[in-house]
């Protein structure tokens, strides 16, 4: 497998929700790549569409939402599906074209692409032991018997640092502390050696010291298993600590993407700059006023015309930014940005608004 060709390539993904009151364009033309073994951080505030993006990846978007455009090319081991050109022998499957409940998607989901959800408590069944659920996941994706699956499960628990795993495997989720639950969640996600791990705000609901443990664990495991990770969060500090590559989203579109150091030290997009300046930091001087981003995040029904950030942008160009939507450009650049301050390519696919 070529290490510079992407494991996952999302191109112009569009997921819309058709409500009575109107259509919410939750994801409106999002593109990014994930390389094998890379940690991609997706950062954005509420309404930016990061959750809907990963739900689209896993094909678990609930009605009335549906994927209306774009493609999600994934280098799957079960490559018997249509490649982007319909050629035989191509490894890439378009996840958008698979039947969401079909066999192939189900084998990918949990097997090759695993999810660590946000709330560890909500993801566990209160009437099954964690061992039950772990073994179930293993049996679903690997051709082993029950005894063997149990052995594998205990190994996984040990690997994520659960003390006395032979006993803990028979515990119920509510008997475990928040940190332990998250570890078991990680063990479940990694139990089938996925190529891609999606972590949906896995540290939002836990304490900061536990968060440090979990981030450390993820880093170690990621290096050991060479798993790619898509890490969703709104916490820029966490992104800085764990991501190799960053995608900044706002109101359903990618504003900027690039290597983590460039994004934090040489941000291009005005939104990225303003966001970085407005976060409180332990390194700042005490009791200083924070620079803020003027205005508030618009309601999804009230998208501004043109670039969605333009009403709040200190550098908006009247006549351009409020009329046309900038494309993510240049595509082969390591740090493309959706902003007319850097280029004047208009996004053709969403140009009509």
């Amino acid at each position: 497998m070529n290490n510079t060709s992407p494991l996952l390539s999302v191109r112009n993904l569009k997921t819309y929700f058709n409500l009575d009151e109107g259509t919410v364009k939750a994801v409106d033309g999002v593109s990014f790549d994930v390389l094998p073994g890379q940690v991609l951080g997706i950062v954005g505030e509420s309404g930016c569409g990061k959750s809907v993006t990963i739900k689209s990846l896993l094909r678990i978007v609930e009605k009335p939402g549906e994927i209306v455009g774009g493609e999600m090319l994934f280098r799957s081991g079960s490559a018997a599906g249509p490649g982007p050109n319909g050629q035989a022998g191509e490894d890439m499957i378009d996840l958008a074209r698979l039947d969401a409940r079909g066999k192939q998607m189900r084998s990918i989901r949990g097997g090759e692409i695993a999810l660590i959800p946000q709330e560890p408590m909500a993801a566990f069944s209160p009437v099954h032991t964690v061992g039950n659920q772990l073994i179930e996941a293993i049996l679903l994706h690997q051709p082993v018997g029950k005894q063997e699956a149990r052995r594998i499960a205990i190994d996984r628990l040990r690997e994520v640092g659960v003390p006395a795993p032979e006993e803990r495997i028979d515990a119920y989720s509510w008997e475990l502390s928040g940190g332990l639950r998250q570890r078991v969640m990680i063990a479940m996600a990694l139990s089938c050696h996925p190529k891609l791990l999606i972590a949906d705000e896995p540290t939002t609901a836990i304490d900061v010291t536990t968060q440090a443990q979990v981030l450390n664990l993820l880093r170690v495991l990621q290096q050991q298993h060479h798993t790619a990770i898509i890490f969703i969060t709104h916490d820029l500090g966490v992104i800085a600590q764990i991501a190799d590559h960053v995608v900044v989203m706002y109101l359903g579109r990618v504003m900027e993407t690039g290597p983590v150091d460039d994004i934090f030290h040489h941000p291009k997009h005005p939104y990225t700059k303003a966001l970085l300046q407005s976060i409180p930091s332990v390194q700042a001087q005490a009791r200083t006023q924070l620079p803020t981003i003027a205005g508030t995040i618009p309601h999804p029904f009230n998208r501004p015309p043109g670039c969605s950030f333009n009403p709040r942008c200190p550098d908006a160009i009247p006549g351009a930014c409020d009329q046309h939507i900038p494309a993510l450009h240049p595509v082969d650049d390591p740090q493309p940005v959706s902003c007319f301050l850097y280029h004047d390519m208009v996004d053709e696919e969403v140009a009509v608004r």
């Binding site: 009575d20 003027a294 205005g295 508030t296 618009p298 309601h299 009230n302």
Partner: protein, 389 residues
């Protein structure tokens, strides 16, 4: 402390604090922003077509219950020994002499073998019927005297009576009895639910708000009442009612008996709501600004679940209607000369009736329609009021 609250003299507000501008979406959005909760519920409810239709049907049935005599054609208690077991006379339209609506008069013959009257429609005799015709006298709400009915015979044809739903063994008009029965059945359902609400909110609220041993005692009472099998209890209680009580006395006794066990479900729900609401931030906030307990309960807690109670009650009414119908059907609830759907069905309870006069079972249809529409309405209300539960 002094009640004269003088505002402190603040320095002039320079726009140091940026004034937060909300999007001005025009008048339509503004209407949503200033809409109190009941309006939001109503808008959500309107989208539910089926519930809306059910609501209209229920309103119509309610008007029957309010003024049943208006819809009746003959006095419900009037019997006519000759005209027994007359089958329903179907209204037909556009008669030969230009009438809009008419029925065929029936002629009866006594069958020599069974000695029963057999009725045959006589197509020669046409009896036109019209809307808003005078008929027997009655009082609206016991106050206003009138004699106008919704439908009635046009006296020109010389026909005295017609029966839209036939007659029973004693020759009493079933349609009129059905109308009269609507009033009793529906009102018993409503009144017993009202009593249940009062008991449930009161006791459930006390239980949930104060907690401690009051809560424990009331909960144990609720559990006791809920563990009693309702049907034998009702049967025992109603059988214990003295036979010489008047219709009205029996009526009130039945409503009280039905609500005595019915309040427990609502009481539990109210208690649960109070318990969780007690710790809600906005309730704590109200206490912290100094609101009295009464204000916290009635201004903050009760309105929050009032829409839920309305929805739950609407769903409880059909249960009560079925309960009363069932008891009366067994002969244990309302008794003749009172008229309710259950009483009507009680009189249809023998094989002879079913074989010879199946139209006597139509009150069952009335029960089905009412219960169905009330359930749909209640579901719609609940979805509109509490979309997340």
């Amino acid at each position: 402390m002094s009640t004269a609250k003088t505002s402190p003299a603040l320095p002039q507000v320079e726009e140091a604090v940026p004034v937060v501008a909300l999007p001005d979406l025009g008048r339509e959005a503004e209407a949503i922003y200033v809409a109190p909760n009941w309006k939001l519920v109503w808008w959500r409810f309107k989208k539910h077509r089926l519930a809306l239709i059910s609501g209209v049907i229920i309103i119509f049935i309610a008007t029957i219950a309010l003024v049943p005599d208006f819809y009746s054609t003959l006095p419900p208690q009037e019997s006519d020994a000759i005209r027994s077991f007359v089958p329903p006379q179907r209204p037909r339209f556009f008669g030969p002499n230009g009438e809009f609506m008419y029925v065929y008069e029936v002629t009866g013959q006594r069958n020599p073998t069974t000695l029963m009257m057999e009725w045959v429609a006589d197509e020669a005799k046409i009896a036109p019927i019209k809307f808003f015709t005078p008929g027997y006298e009655y009082e609206i709400f016991g106050v206003i005297e009138t004699d106008i009915h919704l439908v009635g015979l046009d006296n020109s044809a010389g026909v005295q009576k017609f029966h839209l739903l036939g007659t029973d063994r004693l020759g009493r008009d079933q349609w009129s009895r059905l109308m009269a029965g609507t009033q009793v059945s529906l009102s018993i359902g409503l009144v017993s639910v009202l009593l249940s609400i009062i008991l449930g909110v009161l006791l459930g609220g006390i239980s949930g708000y104060f907690g401690g041993w009051i809560d424990m005692i009331i909960q144990r009472i609720i559990e006791l009442l809920q563990s009693l099998p309702p049907i034998p209890i009702w049967m025992a209680l109603t059988a214990a009612l003295p036979r010489n009580w008047s219709v009205e006395q029996v009526y009130f006794a039945i409503t009280i008996i039905l609500s005595l066990i019915g309040w427990t479900t609502l009481g539990r729900e109210v208690r649960g709501r109070f318990l969780s609401l007690r710790e809600e931030d906005f309730v704590v906030a109200a206490r912290l600004v100094g609101a009295s307990q009464a204000r916290v309960i009635f201004r903050h807690m009760v309105p929050t679940f009032s829409s839920h109670i309305i929805a739950a009650s609407t769903l409880a009414i059909p249960v009560m209607i079925i309960n009363e119908t069932f008891l009366s059907f067994l002969g244990l609830g309302m008794r003749p000369p009172a008229i309710s759907w259950g009483v009507l069905l009680h009189e249809a309870q023998n094989l002879q009736s079913i074989a010879l006069a199946p139209w006597l079972l139509i009150p069952g249809l009335a029960v089905i329609i009412t219960v169905l529409t009330l359930n749909i309405l209640g579901d719609g209300l609940r979805d509109a009021a509490d979309p997340y539960s």
